[in-house]
Structure formats: C-alpha cells, structure tokens
C-alpha cells in the first residue's frame, strides 16, 4: 500500500495546477447558478410581485458580480444558431477560441440527438483541428427532473474503435426555445496529431439529474451515443510551430520559451529549464510552482484579447502549457504574461510572436 501511495504521489507531481484552478472556478460558477436557481424555485411560492422584487434585488446583482472571462465583444457578436451558448462564454476560458472559430466560419453544425427514457442529448456543433476537438451540446431531462449536468462525456474513433478519452467540460442551465430547462455544455479533448485524424467520432454522454427544485436524489441517464462524421476541412489546417527562444529569470532560475505551436483551437507553449537533469526534485518543483502564466495577449487587426491557460504539465525538459486560441484571427503579436510570485501586480512579459 505504501508503494502504491508513493506511486500515486509521483503521478500527481505531473498534474497541472491550471486545470485544478479551473475546476474550482467552474465549481464556483455552477454553485452560484444552482443557488440562484434554488432561490428562484422557492420564490415561485410567493406572490408574483414578491418574485419580481426578489429577482431584481438578489438575482440580478449577483449576475452583475460574476467575473467575466469572456471579452465584452463576444456578447455583441452574432453567434447565429449557437447564440444560446454565449451563456457558457461568460465563465468559460475556451470562449475566445469558440468566438474566433464562429467568426471565421470554422464550425460544423451537427444537430444530431440521442434519447433514452426521457433524457436527451443533442450535439449542436463541433470544431476541430489536428490537436483538439471541441463540442457544443445541449441536454434535457424528463418530467420532474432538473439537469444537474453532464456527468461523463467520452469519445471513440468509429473506424478503429480507439478511445480518444474523456473531455474537459463546462456548462450551465438555461431556458430553451419552448421555455423548458436546457443544459448548455461545451466539451473539449486534446488529440494526438501523430495519429491519423479521426474521420468519424462517437460521443458517449451520461446526463445527471436531480428531483425538480432539489439538490437530492441524483439520477443518471443510460449512455447516450451520437456519431459525428468530421468535416475534412478540419484536418487541412496544419499546426504552425515557432521557436521564440526567449528567456527570463524566475527567482534566479533561467526559463526559456523554446517552442510555441499554433493551431485554430489551441496554443501550446513549451518551457525548458536550464540544465533540467541537474535540478533536484525540490528545486524542480519550486520552478514548476512559480511558473504561472496569466495568459497570452493576442493582438489581431480587429481586437486584442487575452487567451487564458487551460492546462499544464511537466515534461522532461521543463513544463508545457495549453492556451485557448484565436489563431484564425491572424494575430500580429502574441505576448505572454506570467505572474511574478510574491511581487504584487508585476508581470513578466515575453514576446512569442
């Protein structure tokens, strides 16, 4: 057991703090939304006027306080049939990627559904490049049930039966066209571009629901599967690789941004440490811990946006971070901003393009 525990700790060392921070942030956003929903359900028992006062006093200000990750321009852009998904953009760090893809018509509309025992999932749209797949989907539940979320979403390549893994997710409840409650979700998954690009994928969902108006009795749907042939245009765009070789010091340790990979849905940056093999584990972990990017400031013709870090992991030579992308907007400059730990308000900025 002790050796198993030790192995588990080693596995954890390569785990990305950005993903953990995002998980906490998403949980908080979900909590805020659910709390608002519970408050709304309670208030239906009151008089209509009381409801109006209640929502205007409590609900609206809390919406105003939500820290928006998406830039305000997203709210003023027409997302066409995907307009309802802007609800996720308010707190989803993938929002700039989706905005850029929609604006450049780099989206495949799908609108395919699967339904079992009152639970229904619809894949509305998909975006892909050789490094990543990104889905927008909606979920509904049967009578007397509220969406609690999509508890699992995994992908398989149809022709080979190869599992592509589970997705990262973001989502929240909204109101559908006929007034029913609908879960609007986004799932994304990294692809290995050394393997053939999948021609057709099967997305396998499981929806979680709770009794209407309660946070009790979580129930799960059967697995709901939707097959999607991917538009060949997605494999046409090849990853562009830059070698900035820009270095900076983190508390005396030299760190170099050695490689940047650019594709429509993802920017991957590789950091290398000075003589990584000579570093003891304690020093190595200290550098990993201090290397914390805020994001990449991307300046394109039309606007400047911040592309946030989505995940990160340790590598043999150092560390790599994955960011959202607006590469389709053809940015003229990309500047990375890293937090300088223990130096309030100061950033390290590095030009990577």
């Amino acid at each position: 057991m002790l050796s198993d525990a030790d192995r588990m700790r080693r596995e954890q060392q390569i785990t990305d703090r950005a993903a953990q921070m995002q998980a906490i942030q998403r949980g908080l956003e979900r909590g805020k939304r659910k709390r608002k929903f519970n408050m709304f359900v309670m208030s239906t028992a009151m008089l209509l006027t009381a409801v109006v006062v209640f929502t205007s006093v409590f609900l609206f200000p809390s919406l105003q306080k939500m820290p928006p990750l998406a830039s305000p321009t997203i709210q003023h852009t027409d997302w066409g049939q995907l307009e309802q998904f802007k609800k996720i953009a308010a707190f989803d760090s993938e929002s700039e990627t989706i905005q850029s893809a929609i604006q450049r018509n780099y989206v495949q509309m799908v609108n395919k559904s699967a339904e079992k025992k009152g639970y229904k999932i619809t894949v509305n749209a998909v975006m892909a490049d050789e490094n990543k797949l990104l889905f927008l989907y909606t979920a509904t539940t049967g009578p007397h049930q509220d969406n609690y979320g999509v508890s699992s979403m995994r992908l398989m390549e149809v022709s080979t039966g190869r599992s592509l893994g589970s997705t990262s997710k973001a989502g929240g409840n909204g109101t559908g066209s006929n007034g029913n409650r609908v879960w609007y979700g986004r799932g994304s998954l990294e692809l290995d571009r050394n393997l053939p690009f999948p021609e057709q994928v099967e997305v396998d969902f499981q929806i979680a629901s709770v009794d209407t108006g309660k946070l009790k009795n979580v129930r799960y749907s059967d697995r709901l599967k939707v097959k999607i042939p991917l538009d060949p245009k997605f494999k046409a765009y090849k990853t562009q690789t830059l070698y900035p070789n820009q270095s900076f010091l983190l508390d005396g340790q030299k760190v170099t941004i050695s490689q940047v990979e650019l594709s429509p849905l993802m920017i991957r940056t590789k950091f290398t440490y000075d003589s990584p093999k000579k570093l003891d584990i304690k020093t190595r972990r200290a550098i990993d811990h201090k290397l914390l990017p805020e994001g990449i400031l991307s300046q394109a013709k039309e606007r400047t946006v911040m592309l946030y870090a989505l995940s990160g992991r340790g590598t043999g030579a150092g560390y790599e971070y994955i960011f959202s992308s607006n590469v389709l907007d053809e940015p003229q400059s990309l500047v990375m901003r890293l937090y300088r730990k223990n130096h309030n308000g100061e950033f390290i900025t590095v030009n990577i393009k």
Partner: protein
C-alpha cells in the same frame, strides 16, 4: 487540523464576504484536495470533476457551516462524499463493449490495479482512514475532524482497516498462487 496564520485570517474573515474570498480560500487547499480526490478515484479527469463538484456544493451550503475554523475539514468531508457518489456511479455504469476493452481508456499498471481492488474489499469507513492517512499523509487528529469522530475511534478504524487489508492481501496471495 494544522492551519497557518494567513489561512486562518482568510477563513475567519467574516463568512466569505464574496466569492473571491471563497475562491481564494479553496485555492489555499487546492493541492491537498486534488490529492484526496485522486487517491479515491485514481483518474485525473474524475479528480478534477470531483474538485469542481465539491466547490459547487460547498458554495451552495456555505452558510450551514457554523464554525469557520472547521472550513478545511468541512470541504474535505464534502469532497469525500462527492468521491463516494462517483464510485457508486462507476459501479452502476454499463460494462464496456469488447472492442473498448481492447483499448482501455486509462492504462493502469498491474500492481496499481491490484491495490485498488484490494482496497475495494476493505470496509468503507476503514478505507477512508487508510486513504487519508497513508495516501494523503493526514494525521489521525485531522482525520478525526474530517470524519467527525473521536480520535480513538479513528485509531481503532485504522488498525481494523490494516487487519482487513492484510487478510485480503493474504487471500489474494493464496489465490494467485493456485
């Protein structure tokens, strides 16, 4: 439960004035929380999901926490419940089809798989103590606070858990040599 002065200041600062306070306080314990979720679920994505779900539940129920100094034990307790829910969901999940079995979603080493199966056979309340103590380096005092039980009880559960673990491992050893 050990708590630094900075953490104490954050936690006792007037019932989380806003979500930023709440978010920052959870961030303080981020690594430990992730470690606990990982020890229960042994899968990166599921551990991150559990972290997300715990934050969601904790935010909704934050006003039910009477003693702010117990915040850390409280969120760990929520996280354990989330992990238990996920483990139950896994048991209910439909078996994978043959072609999926040929390409497992995650590659788990034989010894890790063996240990996971052995721990599955230990009584749940004992398993909590073993996971928190041996996989997450928590003290018995801290575990007692999380599980809301006297320290003596937790100590007993630890010993009984180890006894069960040894018995199960012995059975496994006998079986594998047949």
């Amino acid at each position: 439960m050990t708590i630094t002065r900075v953490e104490m200041k954050r936690v006792t600062a007037a019932h989380f004035r806003d979500e930023a306070d709440f978010y920052e306080t959870i961030l303080v314990y981020r690594e430990q929380l992730y470690g606990i979720a990982y020890s229960y679920l042994r899968n990166r994505n599921d551990a991150l999901e559990a972290l997300q779900e715990m934050t969601c539940r904790a935010w909704i129920k934050r006003k039910t926490l009477k003693d702010q100094k117990a915040f850390k034990s409280w969120i760990i307790r929520i996280l354990i419940y989330v992990c238990i829910d996920e483990q139950r969901r896994r048991k209910r999940s439909v078996l994978l089809s043959d072609h999926q079995l040929e390409e497992p979603v995650t590659h788990i080493s034989h010894s890790k798989m063996e240990m996971l199966s052995v721990l599955e056979h230990v009584k749940p309340k004992y398993r909590h103590v073993l996971l928190l103590k041996y996989y997450n380096d928590m003290t018995l005092t801290d575990i007692a606070k999380v599980l809301n039980k006297p320290e003596g009880t937790v100590k007993t559960w630890q010993h009984k858990g180890l006894q069960q673990l040894r018995a199960v491992m012995k059975d496994w050893g006998d079986w594998s040599h047949e």
